[in-house]
């Protein structure tokens, strides 16, 4: 029996670490295919409800258009601590990293005495930054999205930038107003928008020729979209319109019908409003008539890929399409126009991320100077010229290089365009919308039932946000 035990013990000691490893609850820091909060480049709408739509478009630009550094503008330079060393951190693939290395080089021309230590974190950025912030080792300057703003804003972990902006001769008025909404708290600016994205109607011209239809134009309405999608679906060579159960893609329909996911003060969910129900009925009607398919229906990872594979005629996608198609489906001809006009007006949804400064930074002036410089007009002009992202300054929208990208970018200027931001629990509200759509798509619930449930869930999330200090 003694021998028995010793052998078993050996087996046991072999197995226990293995089991522990299996059961280990470590947040695996790998580049996982299920993006919970997609830290891809220009705020690709985090497709949280549909994690299977995994192939999120990686925006990576062959940086063949690197532009020489901007001319120095001494009046924008603020005095900083001598010999300051600041750490700058953000997500992003190699293309994005190159964009920011170039930005740092331009910054150093104006501020030769500041050393910027760039430490990109490509995966699980938000989680890692929160952990670093708790332990006091967070970077001095870092990317801020709505999740990080929620975590850091109320607790004073971010430095208000307004005074430094005044000193540097810039102001909130220099930026596209909608972009600042996420980063504003009690009238103070806690991060500056570094870039933004929006949606356009991307389409495959050959599908329209095949069905004998005219190509979409900038003055299309929902009815035109519907008619074309149904005609193409009826022809059968291509599917009509590709759209998943996704809050981001649904948002232009909601906003274009005069709806919103929540009231402007983020206290009341408005998902059971007639505007939303109507918009949802329109989308679901397309689905029921066979004019709307999901990417999975046609065997693609996401709708942009469905265009690249020539499976669908139309979809709502953003500027990340440009490089995705260029790199993966170079021979595919596609075009984009601004989104069709809704019953109430032209609308689109904006995704944005900002750059903020750690309130605990040892060199707050240098850090603020860097955040202001990177998001400033000169540097944004350089970035937009690379085709990597849109400038956050309204007068630079028309600097977008690619014609399709430029058409998509126009969505940012529509009257009803807004950021789908609803306060600290934005993620939960948006999730409720995605899940409601998914239940309807599945045939589980009617539009009214699904959005009544979403309304309850979203209201609970908004109440929770109100009750947490």
């Amino acid at each position: 029996m003694k021998k028995n035990r010793s052998l078993l013990f050996r087996a046991f000691s072999l197995v226990v670490p293995a089991t522990l490893l299996l059961a280990a609850c470590t947040p695996a820091a790998t580049n996982t295919p299920a993006p919970t909060a997609v830290p891809a480049n220009t705020a690709v709408p985090a497709n949280t409800a549909l994690p299977a739509n995994t192939a999120v478009p990686a925006t990576s630009v062959p940086a063949d258009t690197a532009v020489p550094a901007a001319t120095a503008l001494p009046e924008g330079v603020i005095p900083v601590e001598d010999g300051a060393t600041i750490v700058f951190s953000g997500w992003g693939d190699e293309t994005e990293q190159k964009i920011y290395r170039d930005s740092i080089a331009r910054f150093n021309e104006l501020y030769p005495n500041v050393t910027v230590d760039y430490q990109p974190i490509p995966a699980d950025f938000q989680v890692k930054l929160k952990a670093a912030m708790v332990s006091g080792t967070a970077a001095d300057v870092f990317y801020v999205d709505d999740q990080l703003m929620t975590a850091f804003g109320p607790s004073g972990k971010l430095l208000a930038l307004d005074d430094f902006m005044t000193e540097a001769g810039t102001s909130r008025a220099d930026f596209i107003p909608a972009l600042l909404s996420i980063f504003t708290r009690d009238g103070q600016t806690y991060a500056l928008p570094k870039d933004w994205g929006t949606l356009g109607l991307a389409f495959l011209p050959e599908a329209f020729e095949d069905a004998g239809l005219d190509l979409p134009t900038a003055d299309w309405t929902w009815d035109d979209l519907k008619a074309a999608a149904e005609a193409i679906a009826a022809k059968g060579t291509y599917a009509g319109f590709c759209q998943g159960a996704d809050w981001a893609r649904f948002a232009p329909f909601a906003f274009g019908n005069g709806g919103s996911y929540a009231s402007d003060d983020f206290t009341t969910a408005t998902l059971d409003s007639p505007e939303i129900i109507e918009a949802a009925n329109f989308v679901v009607g397309l689905k029921e008539s066979g004019a709307l398919v999901t990417a999975a229906d046609v065997g693609a990872g996401w709708c942009g890929e469905a265009i690249g594979k020539k499976l669908v005629a139309m979809t709502y996608e953003g500027g990340w399409m440009v490089n995705f198609i260029r790199q993966n489906y170079a021979d595919v001809v596609w075009q984009a126009v601004p989104l069709p006009t809704g019953p109430v007006g032209k609308a689109d949804v904006i995704f944005t991320n900002g750059i903020g400064v750690n309130a605990g930074s040892k060199f707050p002036r240098a850090a603020a100077a860097f955040a202001i410089f990177v998001t400033g007009r000169d540097n944004q002009g350089e970035i937009v010229a690379t085709g990597f992202a849109y400038s956050t300054h309204p007068d630079q929208i028309d600097m977008v290089v690619d014609p399709n990208d430029a058409a998509i970018a126009q969505g940012g200027t529509f009257d009803l365009t807004r950021v789908a931001y609803w306060g600290p629990n934005t993620g939960k509200v948006n999730d409720a919308v995605s899940q409601a759509l998914e239940r309807v798509y599945l045939g589980d619930q009617t539009v009214e039932e699904a959005f009544a449930q979403a309304q309850e869930e979203a209201q609970a999330a908004l109440d929770e946000a109100q009750n947490t200090p």
Binding site: K3, N4, L7, L8, R10, A11, F12, L14, V15, A18, T19, L21, L22, A23, A24, C25, P27, A28, T30, T32, P33, A34, P35, T36, A37, T48, A49, L50, P51, A52, Q126, V127, K130, M133, V134, Q147, T150, A151, P154, S155, K157, A296, G299, G301, P424, N425, T426, G427, K428, Q435, E438, R439, L442, D444, Q445, A461, E464, A465, T468, P469
Partner: protein
Amino acid sequence: MASAQPARPKIFKTERARQEALTAYLFIAPYLIVTVVFTLGVLIFAFYISFTSFDLFTSPRWVWFDNYLKAVAPGGDFIRSLVNVLWYVMIVVPFQTALALVLATIINVKVRGSQFFRTVFYAPSVTSSVVITMIFWWLYLKTGYLNFGLTKLWGLFGAEWTSVEWLNNPRGLFQLVAMAFGGDIPSNLWFLRGPSVTWMAIMFQNIFTTAPTFMIMFLAALQEIPPTLYEAAAIDGANRRQQFWRITIPMLRPVLLLVVVLGTIGTWQIFDQVKILTAGGPLDTTLVPVYLIYAEALGTKGPSQMGYAAAMAFLLAIIIFTFTLIQRRYIESGTEQY
């Protein structure tokens, strides 16, 4: 020993014994300190946090049992995750235990090459679960190998296979059965729908990955069963099946307990696969407690709710503890304890 002076009770009989004990404590000190600080200390802190509202960045606010009440509120995410994981435990544990036992029995037969199969069977267990999960991700994609293989297989019989979105199919097992008969289970009775297709896909992966680990344990135990027992049984006229049920299984009981307990604890704590493959979707059908705790603690969709997460963690610990106790009572009756 009885002396007049009120000396403090002697713990060690001799000075040498005392020295030895001190040395022993000195040797285990590094581990002990690490455990006390990073396990016990953290545990106590988490217990305190579970009674507070804490977002990581502002100081904790005492809220009594709010977090626990929120967790057990009907219709909440935690309840939902418990139902999901319960399906998981009930299906994965029996299957992986049975598979492990079968594999061990097969491998225990001394034939040429059994060493090779031992290694092959064990391979999934020594591979990082993240890596295995990535491999299964490729298998399960709508355009992945599983659908590809099934299409080919169906094609052999002249039928057509409709590709299944293994990782994004919220339809439940019982719901599918109901649908086959033209019915459906409404979404307000979601708990009757059974595990979703996606959830079952993850179960399959986990059975595949974990069974070999337990196979090794069964194998070790199998080899310790004295051959004389089988010989005696054979002489008494017991056939193979009788030998298996009357000798092998009873002799394996202690290991069986170990395997079931470890399996249960492991399945209650499933995390990696969910984080990598589904993030709790589709429609929360793969939402599990540990993933929910992770998401709430780090605030992936809203502010961090450390207190709520800690409360759920303690509730989960209580549940696992209870399950383990029940299993012990049930399996161990009359056998050696581990």
